[in-house]
């Protein structure tokens, strides 16, 4: 399982980085989204991969790591997902504004001159 998820994270990262290096703003925003999936998964995976061990306590008893997955990376990733949405939104608005101002969707605000 670890292998599958690592490869998955690798593919997401690779695709994200590839898009990050492209010249069009839409490519970059898709790349950032893919990269944030990869990073979120990576942070999440630092708690270990556990099945059937939700960090939800039964009957109000104190929990332990034998019964429950690590809640800390989950809490970190939860807010990261929401903030990720916010930054995507900000970037989208910026790229639209830049596109309106410069008339191009190139990341440098002008088409490459040759």
């Amino acid at each position: 399982m670890e292998l599958i998820l690592s490869l998955g994270i690798g593919v997401l990262t690779g695709s994200g980085v590839w898009l990050l290096l492209r010249p069009r703003t839409f490519q970059v925003i898709v790349g950032l989204s893919l990269l944030s999936y990869a990073v979120n998964l990576f942070i999440f995976s630092t708690g270990g991969l556990r099945t059937g061990a939700e960090p939800i306590l039964e009957g109000g008893r104190a929990g332990n790591l034998a019964m429950h997955a690590d809640p800390v990376p989950q809490a970190l990733v939860l807010t990261a997902i929401v903030i990720g949405f916010a930054t995507t939104a900000l970037f989208l608005v910026l790229l639209l504004a830049a596109r309106g101002l410069t008339g191009t969707d190139h990341v440098d605000g002008k088409e490459k001159s040759r």
Partner: protein
């Protein structure tokens, strides 16, 4: 008063005075002058009351902890040598304050002047009294800074600004070198305390780092004392008000360099390196300064170059590696301070009473201001070294030293006495020029003001100083003798030589040299009168070597050309190379760490592979790669594929025991997709102009390189993830949270308890960021101007409108309304249900998957569904959403919950909880954390809706912007209907 306290007052009092003076009203010139004079007198009193201790060979010390972890103390130390300089600082300071009171014009902001002057006085005292080298370097830089402010006091003139900047650049650069040198010195000695350094002379001179330390410290001292080749800043500093010149360039600022060289003389001097660097700099400055001074037409310019020359004399004396020369140097410091300060003041009086300082215009002032003329005559005599004046005594000592100096090379032996005589002759010539040019000759014509004597108090400081010149000159041993002796003993210790302070040493070689110099100087002045009368600017022979021009060229080279070249070589304004660099550095840094630490298997065996998840991830990888491929060619397809990859991530969260994450990811996925869909409309069509792209080979090469980087990054991340996942740390914070979540946080959903309780402050920060981002997006969109080619109504909408218009029984927008009829009905029916789900998620969040984030996003989705299917205007006619209010309430609620804990005397965000039995709903938790979560919820609702709706509404705005054009089609915003635009969302 204890002596230690006295030192502290002497250093701190001027700074306190500066602060008070700075707060005085702009025209309070009398109050500021009294204050400054009082502070200077108090300082003088402090110095004087330390005399009994110091004169007995004692050292007054004050020490307080400064940075104890670095072993640094704030320490003040006054021995006889420091006493002498502190006395000069405060003594000349007092006189300068009196002078400045009458010199400064009423329209100048005088309190500011005195504030700077006092602060400078404090910094200078700090330099001379520092018992610690780092502290000395600190005060040293402060003197540079305040001299900058003083020189640039008349900042409305370009000369003052340029002069101030040049002085700061040169002296502060020197200060930086000094700091580096001091650090090396401290490294050699093992302590920065002056006492320890002074005791370690042999060790320092034998150390391999001696030469770098020496060069760096001398760079500091020589720049400060305006020694060749750094002398050029001083004449330009003459743009300062004359009291500043009188103070800074006679007794204080420029003497700081000499002070430092003399202070460290016992440890740094005595080597050939010292002799060559200090001696040759001093000799060159002595001759150059005196030569150039003759040809200055500005009285202050003449005095400036004469100052440079006299500082060169002192430096040369210090460089001779002889104790007797050192005594002469200290003596000349005193003498130069007295006659040069009085001459600057006299020049200021002339400027003040006649309106000009140009020797070519001045003449015959002796008849208009006879008293000032006599004072200036005596001071100039001291400068030229006329017998029975103080300048004569130190000059004779200099000649004696020049004759007897023990140099490493005999060549120098013959040069030195000749050079000394030449410089002395020059100084006779420029002193003559100062006096003869200004005070004698025919009556002046066409002066800006009618000259007359200055106010008596303006002349008073000059009288005091000139009196000192005469008294020292006639009775040296009785007046200055004890102080000079004390200073020399403090600086030299047991090595203090025998010397005699007397006017008459018999008819000896120095006296003969003096007489030759006098005759030569007078002859030279007579010879040059014809040339000087022509009024040509600049000295002959070396006119081309102007320091200022070289300085400016260097500055332009450093700050402009070099920077531009460097930017051209390594900088780029293009995003792609920057990102490429960032990614490459990240990959290499991570790879390097792995390389250093090595790779070894983790302590967890990988679990077996589940074929279902493997299949899901095969799909996920395909989605990701597809999105990467299609983002260029087909944006909608890329967006759908991106959503697919998001869903795979979501499934992974479910699979590996993270229901909260799965829920949030799913909701965010929906919101993000809608957001990007809204944005797609404003992006341009892909242009594929033939020939616009470069050669295939270049493009292919670039892509292969990027592909390589992407593969390296991906492989690196995969390896890193695998490494992390197969390791399990021995101790986890999680254990703590799992144990306490229920007993202290009152919730069974540990993730939620962490978010709203344990780490509530983090969450609070995060929702603030979310709110800030939403506001930023909203603000940017308010001023949004779409690109011209995106303004037109989209093609589909045009076709629909054309169809509607062609049918007589249809009206504009019917087609879209028909198409969306069923979805909009469903959306309306679902609206209350979705809101109920959101409420459910919110309430149960503390115990089961859900919570404020998820609930907030759910409400936002319910809203945006209505916008999508019903159209903006339909929704806003029926439902007024005020996202800003939601956000405001949310953040206030969250912060208020946190602050509420203070009422109960608990730290911020401490939560309280209990379980309440409610009818129908059953037992629900009533924790204060729930209130906090409601705050989170409200903010997420507000922020998400604000962004989405602001973006959605751009369709309306875009058309409005296009409306004035001769549009062939009526503008149809949004699917349903057109009409007047309601107020923008959020303008509540």
């Amino acid at each position: 008063m204890p002596d230690a306290l006295l030192l502290l007052i002497a250093v701190a009092f001027p700074f306190a005075g500066a602060l008070v003076a700075g707060l005085l009203p702009t025209h309070a010139r009398n109050a500021a002058a009294w204050l400054a004079g009082g502070v200077a007198l108090v300082g003088l009193a402090m110095v004087w009351s330390a005399y009994p201790t110091v004169s007995a060979g004692g050292v007054v010390r004050y020490s307080a902890e400064w940075m104890p972890m670095l072993g640094l103390d704030f320490s003040l130390r006054m021995d006889g040598f420091a006493w002498l300089f502190a006395g000069l600082v405060f003594g000349v300071g007092t006189l300068v304050v009196v002078y400045a009171r009458y010199y400064m014009a009423a329209e100048d902001p005088v309190p500011r002047f005195f504030a700077f002057l006092l602060a400078f006085m404090g910094s200078m005292t700090g330099v001379v009294l520092s018992g610690n080298l780092i502290q000395l370097a600190f005060f040293w830089e402060l003197t540079s800074l305040f001299s900058f402010l003083l020189i640039g006091y008349w900042h409305h003139t370009a000369a003052a600004r340029d002069g101030a900047r040049m002085a700061l650049t040169v002296t502060a650069t020197g200060g930086l070198c000094l700091f580096a040198g001091v650090l090396i010195l401290g490294h050699i000695v093992g302590s920065y305390e002056l006492d320890a350094v002074l005791a370690a002379g042999d060790r320092i001179r034998a150390h391999p780092l001696y030469l770098p330390a020496l060069v760096l410290i001398l760079l500091g001292a020589l720049t400060k004392s305006a020694q060749f080749p750094f002398h050029f800043w001083l004449p330009h500093a003459m743009a300062a008000p004359t009291p500043v010149s009188a103070y800074l360039h006679s007794a204080t600022l420029v003497k700081a360099g000499v002070f430092l060289m003399a202070r460290l003389w016992p440890v740094l001097a005595g080597t050939e390196a010292w002799f060559w660097i200090v001696g040759s700099a001093g000799l060159a400055t002595l001759l150059l300064g005196a030569y150039v001074a003759i040809f200055q037409h500005d009285l202050k310019g003449l005095l400036a170059y004469s100052t440079i020359s006299h500082l060169g004399l002192i430096t040369l004396l210090l460089g001779l590696n002889s104790e007797l020369a050192m005594v002469a140097a200290i003596f000349h410091v005193i003498n130069h301070a007295t006659f040069k300060a009085s001459l600057f003041m006299a020049a200021g009086i002339i400027d003040h009473e006649t309106g000009t300082r140009d020797i070519r215009r001045l003449s015959g002032l002796n008849r208009f201001m006879p008293f000032t003329a006599r004072l200036a005559l005596i001071a100039a005599g001291a400068m030229a070294g006329v017998p029975l004046l103080n300048g004569f005594l130190s000059k004779e000592m200099f000649f004696a030293e020049a004759l007897s100096a023990k140099e490493p090379l005999p060549v120098f032996f013959d040069v030195l006495p000749v050079a000394a005589m030449v410089a002395s002759a020059f100084s006779v010539a420029y002193s003559l020029r100062f006096i003869h040019g200004a005070f004698f000759g025919p009556d002046p014509v066409d002066l800006p003001k009618k000259p007359h004597e200055p106010p008596a108090w303006m002349r008073f400081p000059v009288e005091i100083l000139v009196l000192a010149c005469i008294v020292i000159g006639i009775l040296p041993a009785a007046t200055v003798g004890p102080y000079l002796d004390m200073a020399a003993r403090a600086a030299l210790g047991s090595a203090t030589p025998e010397y005699s302070l007397a006017v008459w040493h018999g008819f000896n070689r120095p006296l003969l040299m003096s007489m030759i110099a006098f005759a030569a100087g007078i002859g030279l002045y007579r010879l040059l009168q014809g040339h000087l009368a022509k009024g040509i600017e600049g000295p002959p022979l070396i006119r081309a070597f102007e320091g200022r021009r070289m300085f400016e060229r260097t500055m332009v080279f450093l700050s402009w050309r070099l920077a531009r070249t460097a930017e051209g070589l390594v900088g780029t304004r293009r995003l792609q190379p920057q990102l490429r660099l960032v990614v490459c550095v990240a990959v290499l840094a991570a790879g390097w760490t792995v390389w250093l630490r090595g790779l070894w298997p983790g302590n967890l065996a990988p679990s077996g592979i589940d074929p279902v998840l493997a299949l899901i991830w095969a799909l996920g990888a395909a989605f990701a790669l597809g999105a990467a491929w299609q983002a260029k060619f087909h944006r909608l397809a890329a967006l759908i594929l991106l959503g697919g990859a998001g869903l795979v991530v979501c499934v992974t969260f479910v699979w590996f025991s993270a229901p909260d994450l799965a829920l949030t990811q799913l909701l965010v996925e929906v919101v993000t997709t809608i957001l990007l869909l809204l944005g797609l409309r404003w992006l341009p069509k892909r242009l594929d102009v033939p020939g616009a792209r470069g050669s295939e080979a270049v493009t292919l090469g670039r892509r292969l390189r990027d592909l390589g980087i992407a593969i390296a990054a991906g492989a690196g991340m995969a390896g890193l993830s695998f490494g992390v996942m197969t390791r399990f740390p021995p101790e986890l914070l999680a254990q703590h949270f799992l144990e306490l979540a229920y007993s202290e946080g009152g919730g069974t959903n540990v993730v939620n308890v962490i978010l709203v309780d344990f780490r509530g402050f983090d969450t609070m920060g995060e929702i603030t960021v979310l709110g800030a981002v939403a506001l930023t997006a909203y603000a940017l969109l308010r001023r949004f101007r779409p690109a011209p080619d995106s303004v037109d109504v989209p093609e589909q909408q045009r076709d629909q409108s054309a169809f509607d218009a062609s049918q007589p029984d249809r009206k504009e927008g019917d087609t879209a309304a028909e198409w969306l009829f069923i979805p909009s009905l469903i959306a309306r029916l679902l609206f209350p249900l979705i809101l109920m789900v959101a409420l459910f998620l919110l309430l149960r969040g503390h115990d089961l998957p859900g919570g404020g984030f998820a609930a907030g996003l759910t409400v936002a989705i319910a809203m945006i569904l209505q916008y999508m299917f019903g159209g903006t205007q339909w929704v806003e006619a029926r439902l007024r959403v005020l996202p800003m209010r939601w956000m405001g309430i949310g953040i206030l609620l969250a912060a208020g919950t946190g602050l509420g804990a203070w009422i109960f005397g608990r730290p911020f965000l401490t939560s309280y909880f209990a379980y309440a039995e409610l009818p129908v709903l059953g037992k629900i938790p009533v924790a204060s954390a729930l209130l906090f979560d409601i705050g989170v919820f409200a903010l997420v609702v507000g922020a998400t809706i604000l962004i989405l709706i602001a973006l959605a509404r751009q369709s309306l705005r875009g058309h409005r912007a296009a409306a004035p054009r001769p549009a062939e089609m009526p503008a149809v915003p949004e699917p349903v209907q057109s009409g007047p635009l309601p107020t923008a969302v959020g303008d509540d």
